[in-house]
């Protein structure tokens, strides 16, 4: 490659990653600002972390968000895995077009539409059959499962499309029962995809503000809803502290997962050489 071109690409990378990371880093720096006015530096302090950790409201919201995220990740992985297998391995069934459409639409559907339509469904159901009696953890979880299972399904589908069907076919030819093949051969191949799907569903749920705001009821405030209600009116130093804690936790998690991925990749490369 010509040096001029590679210098251009290096410049692009530096600019791009600076654009992506400088805002986050600055936000973290200001969480240690003593001043109540976020952008005016008043000396180093951890007082906003103390304020934050003493707030019962924050703890309650974090607990609710974690509960929903765990439930959501588990159910979305189960439903999404089934949907992914259906997409990758069952080629002809009635209403397949409708099925694939319903899987890919939630990925790009604007959140306001998903939120509004699910809220209207819950209200209609409540009038007709009395369920859900009140909106809160159950309605938020159902809403989250509905959009995160689509992400899991896509991960599983692409994983299955990438693996050969030779093993499954060989087992079938040797007389294994379909269920046994599914359980002993297809599922173990899917485990890494299911783990990735679970993690993605977990973070999607922790992250969601708009859909949860629509389908939640009185008394159920998730962490993003709490953050949003506070920052609507401007910058808040305690939110900087909360943001720092959340982002550091997620970053450490992703770095560990990424490190494992790279190690696996290397092991695979060595195995093929």
């Amino acid at each position: 490659m010509k040096p001029g071109r590679s210098r251009f690409l290096l410049g692009v990378l530096c600019f791009g990653f600076a654009f992506l990371y400088v805002p986050i880093i600055l936000m973290m720096v200001y969480s240690f600002n003593y001043s109540k006015l976020v952008p005016v530096w008043g000396g180093f302090s951890t007082r906003w972390y103390t304020t934050l950790l003493e707030s019962e409201e924050v703890w309650a919201a974090a607990a609710l968000s974690l509960k929903i995220a765990l439930l959501n990740a588990t159910f979305a992985t189960l439903l999404g895995t089934l949907a992914g297998i259906a997409l990758a391995r069952i080629h002809r069934f009635r209403a397949r077009t409708l099925f694939t459409g319903m899987i890919s639409a939630p990925l790009v559907m604007p959140e306001v539409i998903t939120g509004l339509s699910l809220l209207l469904l819950f209200i209609t159901l409540n009038q007709q059959i009395g369920w859900p009696a009140q909106r809160g953890i159950s309605t938020i979880t159902i809403a989250h499962i509905t959009f995160s299972m689509a992400y899991v399904a896509i991960i599983i589908q692409s994983r299955l499309a990438g693996t050969a069907q030779d093993l499954e076919e060989a087992a079938l030819d040797l007389g294994a029962k379909p269920f046994r093949v599914l359980w002993d051969i297809t599922l173990p191949q899917l485990t890494p995809g299911m783990a990735a799907g679970w993690l993605l569903a977990f973070t999607l749920s922790l992250d969601d503000l708009v859909i949860a705001s629509f389908v939640s009821g009185p008394g159920a405030t998730t962490l993003p809803m709490l953050i949003y209600s506070r920052i609507r009116l401007g910058l808040r130093p305690d939110i900087n502290a909360l943001a720092t804690l959340i982002i550091l936790t997620v970053t450490i998690g992703v770095l560990i997962a990424g490190w494992l991925m790279i190690r696996q990749q290397r092991a695979n490369q060595q195995a093929t050489h």
Partner: protein, 330 residues
């Protein structure tokens, strides 16, 4: 339901005479044979039913309410179905809500403005994301995975908090204004937050990874020998780029652009937090129509109209996705 299924007993070691593997072989492909059982209906049935109930049915309810009249009651809309005194059902629908959207120039302006902001943001994302994806693909070894991880990382961290980070940068006394004053470019703070500019920055910033990742996936599989051959035959780099690289990466460009454009059009958080009251975007109008004005029929009509705007790009995305899956199979 699983315990009642005879297939479970079968798999647990029992034998059954009518096991499905004595079907004529050439009738089914092997892959189909694997799931040529009642497991097939279980596997497709459960997620299918879930999506029918919680994804498709809600849209029909939105459609129904968008055709109802607004009432001051609970729920605040009229019933479409009436029973007259002879016991016959009659349906009363109104298109008043859509007419209202059409006649009020504010709504039309909001739709046009949303599409315009989404289109320009998509273009900026492409201009930044394309060379970035290209540079990452060209990086060798472990460094490439680290760069890729750095692109994915913001995608996992909170969307809301990343938008909040820009509030701190763009505020009147924020970092960017202080920096520009320190540089001597400006004398007093300029209005950055709560403007159209801030919304552009927010959308490009939040959706950039959605542009880079499909482009990267597309470029990674690109055969570089074509580009080398063109260079060997004397093509200038610019010619080589426009005649070979660009057409070959078109699927990635399309997928990335749609992944940015569609959600950006209906975006709520970014115009609300960074645009304040100054930027008209449809997601924000829908939210306030429902939550502040409590006008459910108009909010539903806004949602249906937004869907009509987005249905073509969504179908296009679906086709891109399907052909990608098809290509992976072969």
């Amino acid at each position: 339901m699983a315990t009642k299924d005879p297939m479970v007993n079968n798999a647990a070691g029992g034998t059954r005479a009518d096991a499905p593997d004595n079907r004529p072989r050439n009738l089914f492909s092997n892959a189909a044979r694997l799931l040529q059982s009642r497991w097939q209906s279980v596997i497709t049935g459960i997620p299918f039913f879930w999506l029918l109930l919680f994804f498709l049915a809600p849209f029909f309810i939105v459609l129904k309410i968008s055709l109802a009249e607004s009432l001051i009651a609970s729920p605040p809309f009229s019933n479409l179905l009436h029973w007259n005194e002879n016991g016959f059902p009659s349906i009363k629908v109104t298109i008043d809500n859509f007419a209202y959207l059409w006649e009020d120039s504010l709504y039309i302006r909001t739709y046009v403005n949303s599409i315009q902001i989404a289109l320009i943001s998509t273009l900026i994302c492409l201009l930044i994301g394309y060379p970035m994806a290209y540079a990452i693909v060209r990086t060798e070894g472990t460094a490439r995975y680290i760069l890729l991880l750095l692109v994915i990382l913001p995608f996992w961290t909170s969307f809301l908090l990343r938008v909040y980070a820009w509030m701190g940068l763009l505020a009147d006394q924020g970092t960017l204004n202080s920096f520009l004053i320190w540089l001597g470019v400006i004398e007093k703070p300029i209005r950055l937050l709560y403007s159209q500019f801030a919304v552009y920055v927010g959308i490009v910033y939040s959706y950039l990874p959605f542009m880079i990742l499909p482009l990267y996936a597309n470029m990674e599989k690109l055969d570089t020998s074509l580009q080398e051959a063109a260079a060997d035959l004397g093509a200038k780099p610019v010619t080589g780029f426009f005649t070979i690289t660009l057409p070959l990466t078109a699927p990635g460009i399309l997928a990335g652009s749609l992944l940015v454009f569609i959600p950006a059009t209906g975006e709520f958080v970014i115009p609300d937090l960074l645009g304040g009251g100054n930027v008209l975007m449809i997601g924000r109008v829908l939210y306030s129509e429902f939550n502040a004005n409590h006008d459910w029929p108009v909010a539903s009509a806004v949602a249906i109209a937004l869907l009509i705007v987005l249905v073509l790009p969504m179908m296009l995305y679906h086709r891109v996705q399907a052909s990608e899956a098809e290509r992976q199979k072969s």
